[in-house]
Amino acid sequence: MKGLMAKDFCILLQRKKSFIIILICGLCMSISNDASFFVAYLTMIGTIFTLSTIAYDEFDNSYPFLMTLPVSRKDYAVEKYLFALLISISLWSFSAIIYFLISYFREINLVFIEEISGLLLVLLLPLIVVDFCIPINLKYGSQNSRILIFVLWGIFFAIGMLVKYFIPDIQLPVINISPLIISLIIFVLAIIITLISAMFSISIMNKKEF
């Protein structure tokens, strides 16, 4: 598992120049506009970068060789989640610190608990992307899954638009619970979804022939 992490990290470093450019753009945007955007932006971009490691493994037909190394098919699938989470959480932490620093220098009064719950929800977005994209990438390959993911997002978007069009006045019940508790509940749900997604990915890897 550590070896696979090292491999993915080395592959990720191959794209450090593009990442630095993205980081500078994000910093510029956060300084001139809304700093909270920077947290979502950097975390999301970082997650997409980690997903590209699957494409790198596929590109040189590395799968068969990787499976002969002292790692199991299960290790491979689980490592993709852990690596994505590790990078996402690191970038989220980094960008959250930048966010608080910018807010401090702009002399914006922040309610820490509310801000943290908001930022925790930002961390959900890459988690959803990871849970959704890893099994599809492993099952259909990175090329095909790009098209498939694009189509699926399109369908979700269309469903959302139709719901909004036909049922315009949705009245959500007012819940009197702390935002932090809501964030935590959502996170527990996200962890359950991640576990289910990981089980799918392991099953896909176990059935694969190289």
């Binding site: 070896g3 090292a6 592959i11 790198y56 040189d60 068969p64 060789f65 499976m67 002969t68 002292p70």
Partner: protein, 281 residues
Amino acid sequence: MINIQNLNKTYDKFQLNISLDIPSGIVSGIVGRNGAGKSTLIKAVLGLIKADSGSIKTFNKDPLLLNNEDKQLIGVALADSGFSTYLCINDICKILRKMYKSFNETEFIRRCEEGGLPLNKRLSEFSTGMRAKLKVLIAITHEPKLLILDEPTAGLDVVARNEVLDMLRNYLAQDNERTLLISSHISSDLESICDDIYMIDQGQIILHEDTDKILDEYAILKITRRRFEEIDKQYIIKTKEEDFGFSCLTNQKQYYCDNYPDIIIESGNIDDMIMIMSEVK
């Protein structure tokens, strides 16, 4: 070390049906034409594909059940697969250090430098020979008990081929218990390194023999049609029709040398044997 009983794997227009046994400390070669089933066999031994039927045992286990500890004892180089070509040797070193308990980093770097492999260049910038050398070095530097190499010398010039074969000879010379399964379509590579050779064609083993026996006792008789009718055919394994008459494969070269001194007898040449055994025109 490796035992295969009636392994069966079917693809659209190809069927692999093989039994073989490779004991510990033996160097076995698999030779055959392109598409004969060499890589499929190796993939089955490594658990990369699932057999339709039959049994495969690697370290007395189904390859699909090999755990990470078992895999620490196996070194592999595959013909069409390896580390991402975006990586460099220094990256690979970091990965192998974390993968293998007994990975000898100093030795790996020393051998890479000795072999003229740049440590900081991406693999995509390597020549075919450099990549082949690196694949073998990756496979052997954690000192595995079982080494499985699929076409390690394919596409290499004679100098690069010899360098790769020398690396393998050195690896084997260090411990008599080391086992090597190597596939190639270049028979001379196998002749120089293997204890025994499996000849494969269309997914079947068409010949299995000790290399020494092949070189000493096998021969190809070149006979005219008229002479073919007269000779004793009890030691002829396979016959192929030619323009001049027949090419006949025998495993009793001496018998024909002694009794038929007038016919042309060519000593064991695996390439010619493949041509006759696989009935290639």
